[in-house]
Symmetry: C3
Subunit: 315 residues, 3 copies
């Protein structure tokens, strides 16, 4: 789709015929992608973007670098939301190749496997599982009953996905209109799961808005855990039952999140951090190998002291 066509769609005049193949962030966009700037906090990213075009307010247009076309509009984020629909693939592909199933893989009854999907050898796909279009699964992986894997996601080898878990549902993203309507930001990314990952029952891993939500090798996720869009769960990390990881947060390697703990979005947790049960992480944790607890979060041994002090209030 050309920049001109996109501009037309949102009522902007632009004659540029260059082809756009997708949407992305300021920092990750390449010369065939469209991006946006809504929040001035990212002005420095704008100056360095490689994007073909950027949705931007008049106020910030002067910062758009040479080689990037400025699509000037009042509400860049809302325009991005509207445009995102143009780039979303079909909910179900009607065309495409029949799935490829490797040797030794058992597919039980009542399983749906979509077009262009490739499943490795020695896997077990149990009854009621849904494997969407263009999904890739490695070897020796077990998909338990009633699991749903949305289109375009990938799962590595030696993984176990327990019953009812959903991989690749849409991230929670929308823009507001002035009259109180929400315009969906189509989540055109995917989920990428490494090797030797086990995910418990009825957990949900949302697909990325752009690029991938990433679950690295060796991660262990318990039941009823939520991982938001564009998160990265680092190698060997452990998420205990009912944990919630908000969108765009990054857990480095071997982070342990206790039961019902959670993070806010857009933060980073240093490797080998331990968050106690119910801990609520609202800021990035930069120092590795420490134990944290509470909400607001403090060091675990401080939290224990604090509870003593609080108990003293009753004296």
């Amino acid at each position: 789709m050309t920049i001109q066509e996109i501009a037309d769609f949102i009522g902007i005049d632009c004659q540029e015929k260059k082809d756009i193949i997708g949407l992305n962030t300021l920092t990750d966009s390449n010369e065939n992608e469209l991006t946006f700037l809504e929040n001035k906090k990212y002005l420095s990213d704008l100056k360095n973007t490689k994007a073909a075009a950027v949705l931007v307010t008049a106020e910030n247009a002067s910062e758009v670098p040479l080689g990037t076309i400025a699509l000037i509009c009042e509400e860049p984020y809302l325009m991005l939301a509207k445009i995102s629909k143009l780039f979303t693939p079909n909910v179900i592909e009607m065309d495409g190749e029949k799935p490829l199933i490797g040797g030794g893989t058992k597919v039980m009854p009542n399983v749906y496997i979509g077009k262009d999907s490739i499943i490795g050898s020695d896997c077990t796909i149990m009854a009621g599982a849904f494997i969407g279009d263009n999904v890739k699964i490695g070897n020796n992986t077990i998909i338990y009953p009633n699991v749903t894997v949305y289109r375009d996601c990938t799962i590595g080898s030696d993984c176990i996905i327990h019953a009812g878990t959903v991989i690749g549902s849409d991230g929670f993203g929308f823009a507001n209109t002035k009259d109180g309507k929400y315009i969906k930001i189509y989540q055109n990314g995917n989920v990428t799961i490494g090797n030797d990952v086990e995910i418990g029952a009825n957990s949900t891993i949302d697909r990325a808005v752009f690029k991938s939500t990433i679950i690295e090798d060796g991660v262990r996720i318990d039941n009823l855990v939520h991982v938001g869009h564009n998160c990265k769960i680092g190698r060997g990390s452990i998420l205990v039952a009912q944990v919630g990881i908000s969108g765009s947060s990054i857990l480095n390697a071997y982070v342990v999140m206790g039961g019902q703990s959670a993070t806010a979005g857009h933060l980073e947790i240093a490797a080998f951090s331990t968050i106690a049960a119910r801990g609520g992480v609202t800021k990035s944790i930069n120092e590795p190998k420490k134990s944290w607890a509470g909400f607001p979060l403090i060091e675990h041994r401080q939290w224990l002291r604090l509870q003593g002090k609080i108990a003293n209030l009753l004296k």
Copy 2:
């Protein structure tokens, strides 16, 4: 079923032949419905009820209005529970019309659609979805894989229901017997979802005991959210992941509930209220447009101050 038959069923003598078509609250009952009074708090509602008959203790029988028959018993709530079974429809309808599916609607394999159900045009019903009997779905709605919609529920147009979500499961209701048994209160209401609603993966919206659990137009619900029976989620409200809304609570328009926040039951939240992540609402919020946090809940800026004061305890 006549009042006499109902009375017989619970061992009360009453000759009244009037027909009862359902159960309802004191305030909502019409002249063909049966109601009950257990808690004296609702005595004034009893005085104004339009119900055909009311289960009531001897103590309160004198307050039953003219035109309403008093069915006097020791444990009205328990009797209601027993009677509720008489009014519950079949788990599966064997009779009834084949479902009507509108033009342009795609129904994938391994989908079940029940008797008398009507699905509009241009919908997508994905593999493994269960659409119960007498369900109504509007146009252009997507039901993702392994979603379950229980009988009698309605979903509007332009909705998206993500994988694994359950609409219309029974509300959590039962009465105690003196010997420690729980008698199920059959949940004979439904769930009614408006237009332009998106619900994430593996969330659960319980059906009402009487009438409807209501999700109004434009609501956005994230993953693993629980909405109890008889709640109303007002227009444009946002429920972030892992939120829990207890039964009979009302969120007015544009309420935002942060991740893992929750409400107690039987309360009301004013329009445009924002509850921070983990906030716990235990009383009604009457003033609109304010931000709240904590458990117990206080104004958000007070909560921030309070956390500073608590941190000072460590000094």
Copy 3:
């Protein structure tokens, strides 16, 4: 499998030909089972074990009782994890008898019922349900759509399991290697659910590592509840929505857990205890019939007082 074969598998020399039929704890093992000691806290259990053999460090080997063979190794728990795979049954049984379905039981389309399973009379198994191999279900039980019951689990009579719930998924158990890999402890136990139990939508009940996770008669579980492996939920207990019960915890009869409350693992809660919403139980509760709240947990009336004291900090 003989002790010698097991020893060979983990690189230990042992000539003993005695047959081992399963793994178990120090206290529960019988003379045909293998057990382990990792934590010195359980040394007294070692002295009294009836197990055929025990994985144990050299340091503790002298405490192994007569009649039990010591398999001496550096990392007993890790060795147990490796051995657990040898005792795990097939994910899907290819052999075995066709399931037996009692009179009056309705099985809807798109249901899978495994080998050797027995379903009683007058049950309803709704579309999309998965009933694994060797599952036993009593009479008059309703399994709603898209429920998954893993192999070897049992469900009693007069139960209701709501849509999307998962019974018998693997407990969250693994041992660490020194180089940061997790070795799965295969969960070779099951889930045993009594009579007259209702479980809400999208809840998860994990199977035991050894023996059974137990849900006793009359229990009521709401939506999105997690029960970890080897828990026992006592008769008549109530778990409100989004509760989390960590592994190996025991709730005695008629315990009530409010919404979003949780327990740590390996603890016991006395009968008739009430835990308020959001309460976090981190130690055993020995005295019955009390009400508790908060995290850390204190008596409910103390918690109310404490909140008053905390609010005073703002003055």
